[in-house]
Amino acid sequence: MPSLELHDIRKAYGDTLVLDGVSLTMEACEFVAFLGPSGSGKSTLLRIIAGLETPDGGEILLDGRRIDQLPPGERDVAMVFQHYALYPHMSVRENMSFGLRNARVAREEIEARVAQAAHVLEIEEQLDKKPGQLSGGQRQRVAIGRAIVKQPKLFLLDEPLSNLDAALRLRTRVEIAQLRQRVDAALIMVTHDQAEAMTLADRIVVMNDRRIQQVGPPMEIYARPANSFVARFVGSPAMTLASAVLLPGDGSFARVRLGDGAEVETRVVASGLPADAPLHLGLRPENVTVTAPEAGTTKAKVELVERLGDRTLIYARLADGLEVTAQDEGDSRIRLGDEIGLRIDGGAAHLFGPDGAGHHAEPAA
């Protein structure tokens, strides 16, 4: 049985359309991440599900029950806010039990649930403190605890990691991963950080420009991006998109020519591509490697070298001015200004049609 169903959700602020017919179905206990740049509508969608915003059209069902007409407190959802939104004058214990008291849950039951949540989140020592006396990470856990005790059917997490420093972010990421193991509920997390979405979610909903661009498991989003936006947005550093022309040929796979004349043999089925239309060749850094100047697919000049330890990222420019990101060994000796050769692994390349739609390599037989 599906847990959350969104049907054709629409929302506008005045003349500004922020959500244009969004539909989505979540499985029971599924963890879905809404991923997208700011202004893509992902937070608005989350707030509409929570009941903090009213959609202009569409339906929301949770476990088969229509909830979009209900007030937030009646929807069986719990939310962890970006800035935690803890009640500053209440103790941690009061913060966590506030919702249950309003729902008239029996006192013993409230105490048991708070104690249980405090135990798993390791905030038992903090129960009688005020939020102002806690560190950022502790506040985050109280906010999660406040959501857990309500035993909702759906958890909503609004950018849960964005306020934490790098070390704490990794730890909290682990905690959120554990949270989904502990709770018998579906989770939605809004994030603009693709690493969070990739590591935590069962499925990612990539949003941009008021619409869902692609829905799929993380690796599918990465390996088979539905369009050039998803291709550029997911993956770091971003995929290089190079203008390319389809070459006539009798092979079943497409052969394209780049702006500087280099030719690349892909494993994208040629028959699916629009004829005579400008294409873009999509190349992830790991599919472009550095060679001697004459040995590669094409030549380039190095503009920036990023040494990451285990690998080195080379930002280079082709003769026609196109910027390409390539990857080299961790101990690469390449320096700024070097003339290098680039070997393009056409077998892993993607092609994007004039409408941006993605065409991907057939898996090798």
């Binding site: 009941g51 937030p72 407190g73 806010f81 009640y87 004058h89 506030f98």
Partner: protein, 292 residues
């Protein structure tokens, strides 16, 4: 030649200096002078005769002074609680970003910019028993007009109503400022926590503006203990002193009976009363909960 270092040391004083001078001459010096005068028999022409604590002893036995202290306390009790509640209610109602709310904020604040003379004039038109607005309304209902300004039981309520109307603007603005400090997301969290409107007000809003509430009550208590103009202009303290607050008593003693030393002693006692009341309030509201 002055070095930059030594200039820096005096730079701060240069900024606070003008204010400090004014403060000393207008407030600190008269305060000390007043304490001095209160131990003298003094008149307005400068005659001084040391009498020790005689003025204070006389005051503590003076039934007219007692009556004025009682009147002032009654006024505070009749003004501060309703003023605070009405100001808070107005602030809650007008704490929204609409044009209408802005217009009403302006209207409710506008009474505060009027001088006490205008305010009492307006309320005289309303309260006067022969031709006032209230009297006309009562007549229309077939009742006798209410003698607000001459019935000893009604003069203090009449003063209280006038004062509340006059003073509502500032506390309302303070509450609005306090309400706007509350982050919106805790209200959203409360709505997800199924909190009713009343629970939200009692558990979220009220604790969040606790400091503003303390400030308003303390400021208004101190201000209304010093209520003067309305009483002088509306009832002149009458009938038979039933609406005479402390400051009006001090004024009459100093400038009517020319007993400057005696008036100064009464002023010092008022100072102590204001100090004590505000300190007790502060202690009462802060002792329970240590600030985070």
């Amino acid at each position: 030649m002055r070095t930059p270092g030594s200039w820096r040391r005096f730079e701060g004083y240069a900024f606070v200096g003008p204010f400090l001078l004014l403060y000393i001459f207008i407030l600190v010096y008269p305060l000390i002078l007043g304490i001095g005068i209160s131990f003298h028999r003094a008149d307005l022409f400068g005659a001084r005769q040391w009498v020790g604590t005689e003025n204070y002893a006389r005051l503590l036995a003076d039934p007219v002074f007692h009556q004025s202290v009682g009147n002032s306390l009654k006024l505070v009790l009749l003004i501060v609680p309703p003023l605070t509640i009405i100001a808070l209610a107005l602030a809650l109602a007008l704490n929204r970003p609409t044009k209408t709310a802005a217009v009403f904020r302006g209207i409710f604040f506008s009474s505060s910019v009027l001088s006490v003379t205008i305010v009492t004039l307006i309320w005289r038109f309303v309260l006067t028993p022969d031709a006032g607005l209230v009297a006309k309304a009562m007549q229309a209902l077939g009742r006798d007009p209410i003698p607000f300004l001459s019935d000893p039981n009604l003069t203090i309520p009449a003063l209280a109503i006038t004062t509340i109307w006059w003073c509502i603007g500032l506390p309302m603005m303070l509450f609005l400022a306090g309400l706007q400090q509350i982050p919106g997301d805790i209200y959203e969290a409360a709505s997800l926590d199924k909190a009713s409107r009343w629970t939200t007000f009692r558990r979220i809003t009220l604790p969040s503006i606790r400091r503003t509430l303390i400030l308003v009550v303390m400021l208004q208590t101190a201000a209304q203990l010093q209520l003067f103009g309305q009483a002088q202009l509306l009832t002149a303290g009458g009938p038979s002193g039933t609406s005479r607050p402390i400051v009006l008593y001090i004024y009459e003693v100093a400038f009517g009976r020319w007993e400057l030393g005696y008036a100064a002693a009464a002023a010092e006692l008022l100072f102590l009363i204001v100090l004590a009341v505000t300190l007790i309030q502060y202690w009462a509201v802060t002792r329970r909960e240590p600030e985070r």
